[in-house]
Symmetry: C2
Subunit: 142 residues, 2 copies
DNA sequence: TACAATTTAGAGTAAAATAGTCTTAATTAG
DNA sequence: CTAATTAAGACTATTTTACTCTAAATTGTA
């Protein structure tokens, strides 16, 4: 799978946070979404580090949006949640077992690069605002 | 990652087989590509079952193309190699831990469906002929 | 000022997926 | 008949995913 639960939880959390006035705590969000609190806390930390969320420590603390929803791309959310760009196939991970030692330069590299680029572009052009407003999802008919 | 080594090995093997007159054996292909023979054999079996390759048993046996390269989509190669369609994120795998028990029907479902459909379409429209001929790779500029 | 509620950081763990291996059986050209 | 090959399926090792746990730092409020 291209995405893991980290991205799922990040997006579901952001959907709640964007609609809240007060800071939302990890525990509260975890309860509302029925997902593990410790795991969610880690993910929210990542979103805060990436300046998608702003965190408030201490009593009545929690997380609020650090930017407006139309200023946040889905790409940056996923990168923050996953800790890396979601890859179609990462040759560089297999440096010592690449057939022909042709990393990034074999016969299937152009295809992989095109495919990866297509995904990157799609995710960069979509904002957090778009995905909760179906009409704004880009069509894929052409 | 969306794809595993199975798809990589399948595509690299098909690139050799499509350019060969004689049936190519698993051992021969594995040597040429410097990849594990037993693993490759499994992948080639899958391609044969999916009617992408034709297998010839016995002495001087091996694999030849079962169809023309322009009749084989990249989608069907990947499905045959991976044993399933490559998924962006498969909710149905988490039936008993879906936040809100809203499988396929939560707030991020429309986004996931659109994303998945985009990938499916891209792979279905590409043929084995296309990917080794860079000029035919669809542009991603628009 | 003390305390309770919170985030932060980092190490640790269990389950699942990936990337293989190995063995035995079936088939077939020569 | 035999050597070369694919087919099938069980098995194993490594890596990734999906968490948990603990201790420390921060901060609003009594």
């Amino acid at each position: 799978m291209l995405l893991t639960r980290a991205s799922e939880y990040a997006l579901l959390s952001l959907d709640i946070i964007r609609n809240s006035e007060k800071p939302q705590g990890a525990e509260q969000l975890a309860r509302e979404l029925s997902i593990p609190k410790s795991f969610l806390a880690k993910i929210l930390q990542g979103l805060a580090k990436s300046n998608i969320l702003e965190s408030k420590k201490g009593a009545h603390g929690g997380f609020i949006m650090a930017k407006k929803v139309h200023e946040i791309s889905i790409a940056e959310i996923i990168v923050a949640a996953e800790g890396k760009t979601p890859a179609v196939f990462d040759c560089s991970q297999y440096t010592d077992s690449c057939p022909n030692s042709a990393i990034g330069n074999c016969n299937i590299s152009p295809f992989l690069a095109t495919f990866q680029n297509k995904i990157d572009t799609f995710l960069q052009e979509l904002t957090l605002e778009d995905i909760f407003n179906n009409e704004h999802l880009p069509s894929f008919s052409h």
